[in-house]
Subunit: 148 residues, 2 copies
């Protein structure tokens, strides 16, 4: 069955995401499907692009909630075009840049910092990169959200 819509199994196969995960994404409002008369999901091909975006964003370390908000900025009525996606990806490029900068800072300071014995929380720039984390206060919830 190679129509203009995809079954959940087909979308799963093409995206590498399990059907259960796709249903989960739908519950959270990240993707959408129409239904057949028999209540089975049918996906438009453009959903593939959404799923792709979701997985990429997860790799960057973004929670599904944030991803949902980002996807919500895509047009409702019509199929998103290149410009729409480009706008979205531009925003994520900035995120990536930030994240890369953080990791580079970590890398550049790691050896010297541990080598000199300063890895003691107090003085170490490494432990509070840019004071971003310090501002969050105690409790780890903030960091470490989408693994990887």
């Amino acid at each position: 069955m190679v129509a203009d819509t995809l079954t959940i199994g087909e979308l799963a196969a093409r995206s590498g995401v399990a059907p259960s995960a796709l249903r989960y994404y739908e519950r959270l409002g990240l993707i959408h499907a129409t239904r057949t008369t028999g209540n089975q999901r049918r996906y438009r091909r453009t959903e593939l692009r959404r799923v792709s975006f979701i997985r990429i964003a997860q790799q960057v370390g973004v929670s599904l909630e944030e991803i949902r908000d980002a996807l919500a900025s895509l047009p409702e009525g019509r199929t998103p075009n290149r410009a729409d996606w480009a706008r979205l990806s531009e925003r994520w490029r900035a995120r990536l840049d930030d994240r890369i900068a953080l990791l580079e800072k970590l890398r550049d300071e790691l050896t010297g910092c541990i080598g000199c014995g300063c890895l003691s929380m107090q003085t170490c720039k490494l432990y509070n990169p840019g004071d971003r984390l310090a501002a969050e206060g105690p409790g780890p919830r903030v960091l470490l959200a989408p693994r990887q």
Copy 2:
């Protein structure tokens, strides 16, 4: 009380990690403490460095289990010296390099990839950066582990 050992509260304050988390790390074997006659934990100052290492590794996206394994490579009998820590941090530098390379690839391909409409799982290099993920097979457990 400013002795040569730290109470759990002091270690928590200095490290920015909650006491409950420190006890949790101990249960998992990431850190160690001696006990007073009254069964309270006392930490050697070097534990501060361990905790610091743990938090840094988490930022890079490593699971506590992996961190424990890494810390296990430190000498048992004696206090780890600079060379010990340097050895360890060298290994993590490589991890950081890998991770940075991945994110840079993601960034460099993101705009072009979405812009050209190829973000379709099939052909997109972005979705399978370096085929590392494809090799894992279906199931997300692998990626997205320690959030952020």
